[in-house]
């Protein structure tokens, strides 16, 4: 039977197991929406902005491990979703984005709402397709999902001209894909894996440097086995959080710019760095030439371009983490002898010393302003039994959440690492909630970031996505303010946000629940109320505005040279600063 392009699209989505898409209509995609309207297998979450649709698809993808799907119209719909595509590209999130295009006969004519979608998205997608013939549509969609979800995952765009969505073709869904220029390597080179095993056996001070690749690969079990068998401490990148249980005694927590003292010291002084699914980002390496200066480096990554991009690697292994770790474990199981704990004792003694010297710390005065870290810590303690999914926006609150919200399992952590996209957190949480209607989904947001996609509160209410947004409201672009305090002599150029909007009233205006915790003593009760509420909730938590996030390695600095607290001159400068940052303090803040 012949189907229209729009029907073919829907049939393909069903065959790919897509249950939910995030979408916003427009002229050239009306036919597709019309067909979506007449079926019930696929739920359409109508967003209020295409960037929201993109981030929701990302949240859906990160939480499920499957491709997220969004659908946008031509021209402005496409340009609006670009940020989400770029975000997904940087963080390797599997995404299939369908964009509408003007009819094939009009392409290139500056037609109404025409944009060069292929040109616009080329640098921020893994691949993109313009479908010029409805007969190619099904194969193209099959390839799009295949490319998005295999190898190093990433976003794929399928641009569908209006006439293609209306034209008819015989529908057959291909059962397999063959793309001669695309064949990711999953199995690691056996000889290299043996070399890695030997290096691990020889090492005295090894460290695992674990990244997002372990999450994508679903290799947490293999990682845990490796770490426990060899008693090697585990550092995680921001994207790797959850790949290894955060409460495990071998977890060093996050490494890098705002990583723990111990995680950074361990990697700096280690003699063998085992990088698994991580890409040596500059937020992790600091000054590249002085990154792990004493170590041999093993690098396991599915993408050959990640290897030796930033630093030299002694034992490169191209392959999927899960399969490589499995083989590695097998070899090690046969060779590991004696008590690894005993063998590693000197290294662990050193590590425990570092841990005790500078653990993560903050001071919460019982009567004083609420400290942001305290909010995250309480949120963690109050929710950990519920195995929540948690997203963040970008800024200080993101780093504190990374530090204090320990993740027990992968696919619970939604954050924007590579692009650092403010406005990511709230829609991403909604995407995860759409995938798991009954789970607890939290978003720790900044007062600045959350305003970048606040409009999606309407989506949350209407589409019944009861996410809990906890705003660490420091009245600042706090991360910017921190840099200004540390490196620009405290001149707050465009970082003060003032006290508007009233997030509680705003939530209420949208039909959501708004709560506020004014005092430390209110915090638990308010958080508990939010968690118990079966609707979208915004919890506004005014926090101490001048809290800085430490440890911190200044950009381009060395990993063992961390700033651990406000430097003396900053302390002196802040001595007269208002302590609460409440409304009345406004003038003082601006003249500070």
């Amino acid at each position: 039977m012949k189907l229209t392009g729009s029907e073919i699209l829907i049939e393909c989505l069903k065959r790919e197991g897509v249950k939910t898409i995030f979408a916003l209509p427009g002229g050239v995609v009306l036919k597709i929406f019309d067909m979506l309207h007449q079926q019930t297998d696929i739920e359409v979450v109508l967003t209020r902005h295409e960037q929201g649709a993109g981030h929701m698809a990302e949240g859906y993808a990160k939480a499920t491990g499957k491709a997220g799907v969004c659908l946008v119209t031509s021209g402005p719909g496409m340009t609006n979703v670009i940020t989400a595509l770029a975000d997904a590209y940087m963080d390797s999130v599997p995404l299939v984005c369908f964009s509408g295009q003007v009819s094939t006969s009009l392409i290139g004519n500056d037609a109404f709402q025409e944009a060069d979608n292929i040109g616009l998205s080329r640098p921020c997608t893994k691949y993109n397709f313009l479908v010029k013939d409805v007969n190619d549509l099904a194969t193209t969609i099959k390839e799009a999902f295949y490319i998005a979800t295999t190898g190093r995952p990433g976003p794929v765009l399928v641009d569908i001209p209006k006439d293609v969505s209306m034209a008819k073709a015989e529908f057959t869904y291909p059962s397999s894909v063959a793309i001669r220029g695309y064949n990711p390597t999953y199995e690691g080179n056996k000889w290299q894996i043996k070399q890695a095993a030997e290096a691990i056996m020889k090492a005295k001070k090894p460290i695992l440097y674990v990244g997002g690749g372990v999450v994508f690969s679903g290799a947490s079990k293999e990682l845990l086995e490796l770490a426990e068998m060899t008693q090697i401490p585990v550092d995680m990148t921001l994207m790797g959080l959850g790949a290894f249980p955060g409460e495990h005694t071998q977890s060093m927590g996050m490494m890098g710019m705002h990583g723990t003292y111990c995680a950074n010291m361990a990697v700096h002084y280690s003699d063998l760095v085992i990088a698994v699914g991580a890409r040596f980002d500059d937020r992790v390496t600091g000054k590249v030439s002085e990154f792990c200066p004493y170590a041999k480096v093993i690098h396991i990554d599915i993408d050959p371009t990640s290897i030796r991009k930033n630093i030299n690697v002694d034992i490169p292994i191209v392959g999927d983490c899960k399969s490589v770790l499995r083989e590695l474990n097998q070899i090690l199981k046969a060779t590991v002898n004696g008590d690894q704990r005993e063998l590693r004792k000197p290294w662990w003694d050193q590590i425990r010393e570092w841990q005790q010297a500078h653990p993560l710390a903050y001071q919460q005065e019982p009567e004083g302003a609420i400290k942001p870290q305290h909010v995250v810590k309480r949120l963690y303690e109050l929710t950990k039994d519920r195995d929540p999914i948690i997203s963040t926006d970008v800024g200080q609150h993101q780093m504190w959440t990374a530090q204090y919200f320990k993740l027990a399992k992968p696919n619970r952590w939604l954050t924007s690492g590579g692009l650092g996209t403010m406005g990511f957190g709230f829609p991403a949480a909604m995407g995860a909630q759409a995938a798991f209607r009954n789970r607890l989904v939290l978003c720790v947001a900044g007062d600045g970031s959350v305003q970048m996609n606040m409009q999606e509160m309407a989506t949350a209410v209407v589409s019944k996505l009861p996410v809990k947004v906890i705003i660490l409201n420091n009245r600042f672009h706090g991360m910017v303010r921190q840099w200004q305090d540390l490196f620009y002599e405290g001149r707050y150029a465009s970082s003060y946000l003032d006290t508007t909007p009233d997030f509680v009233k705003l939530a209420e205006a949208y039909g959501a629940v708004g709560l506020r915790a004014n005092k430390v003593t209110d915090l638990d009760a308010v958080l508990k109320e939010a968690i118990a509420t079966d609707k979208p909730v915004v919890v506004d938590v005014p926090t101490y505005p001048y809290e800085n996030c430490y440890p911190m390695i200044p950009a381009g600095g060395c990993n063992h040279e961390m700033i651990l607290e406000d430097p003396p001159e900053l302390k002196r400068r802040m001595a007269g600063a208002p302590s609460t940052g409440s409304n009345e303090d406004k003038d003082t803040i601006l003249t500070a």
């Binding site: 040109g119 640098p123 490319i147 894909v177 064949n183």
Partner: protein
């Protein structure tokens, strides 16, 4: 160091811009790029002349391989290769220079492919040194226009096997 990279790509709409975008987006050099279909019309062959230290060239080769429309990448510098370039040179020729122009063309085994009372258009093929040399000799006569194709290159039939990074055909 200069490297010549031979890239087999899908002969499809937009592939050139993907390759060009890769080079510009990542700040890699392109000295020249030539592209034309292969014997199999579904594929095109690109010859890219680029430069960079070993780390950069390794990244260039890997990044090219990563492009989905790229079927095979060979860094020709890894083995012996021959390269050629063609130039079309339009020279002004006053009557007293015409014989000199022909003599120069002859030395370089170049052909005159167009002639007017005041110009010759000379076609010359060779390695870059040869092209530079003929240009230098013709310059005093007055070069009106110069078009170069950029280099194409091919591996010499292997005495030792060429080191390449071919991509396998997809399994599923």
């Amino acid at each position: 160091m200069e490297h010549i990279i031979s890239v087999t790509v899908e002969n499809k709409f937009g592939v050139l811009s993907r390759v060009a975008g890769l080079f510009s987006g990542r700040g890699f050099n392109i000295e020249s790029l030539s592209v034309a279909p292969t014997l199999d019309p579904s594929m095109s062959q690109m010859t890219i002349v680029t430069s960079g230290d070993d780390r950069i060239v390794e990244q260039i080769v890997k990044q090219l391989n990563k492009l989905i429309d790229v079927i095979k990448v060979v860094d020709l510098n890894e083995s012996e290769f021959v390269s050629r370039e063609t130039a079309l040179i339009k020279v002004h020729t006053k009557s007293e220079d015409r014989a000199e122009a022909l003599r120069i063309a002859d030395i370089f085994r170049a052909n005159v492919i167009d002639s007017t009372p005041s110009t010759y258009t000379i076609e010359v093929t060779g390695d870059p040194k040869k092209i530079e040399a003929i240009i230098n000799l013709l310059q005093p006569l007055g070069i009106k226009e110069l078009i170069r194709t950029g280099r194409v290159a091919i591996a010499r039939e292997a005495i030792r096997p060429a080191v390449s990074q071919p991509k396998k055909v997809a399994r599923e």
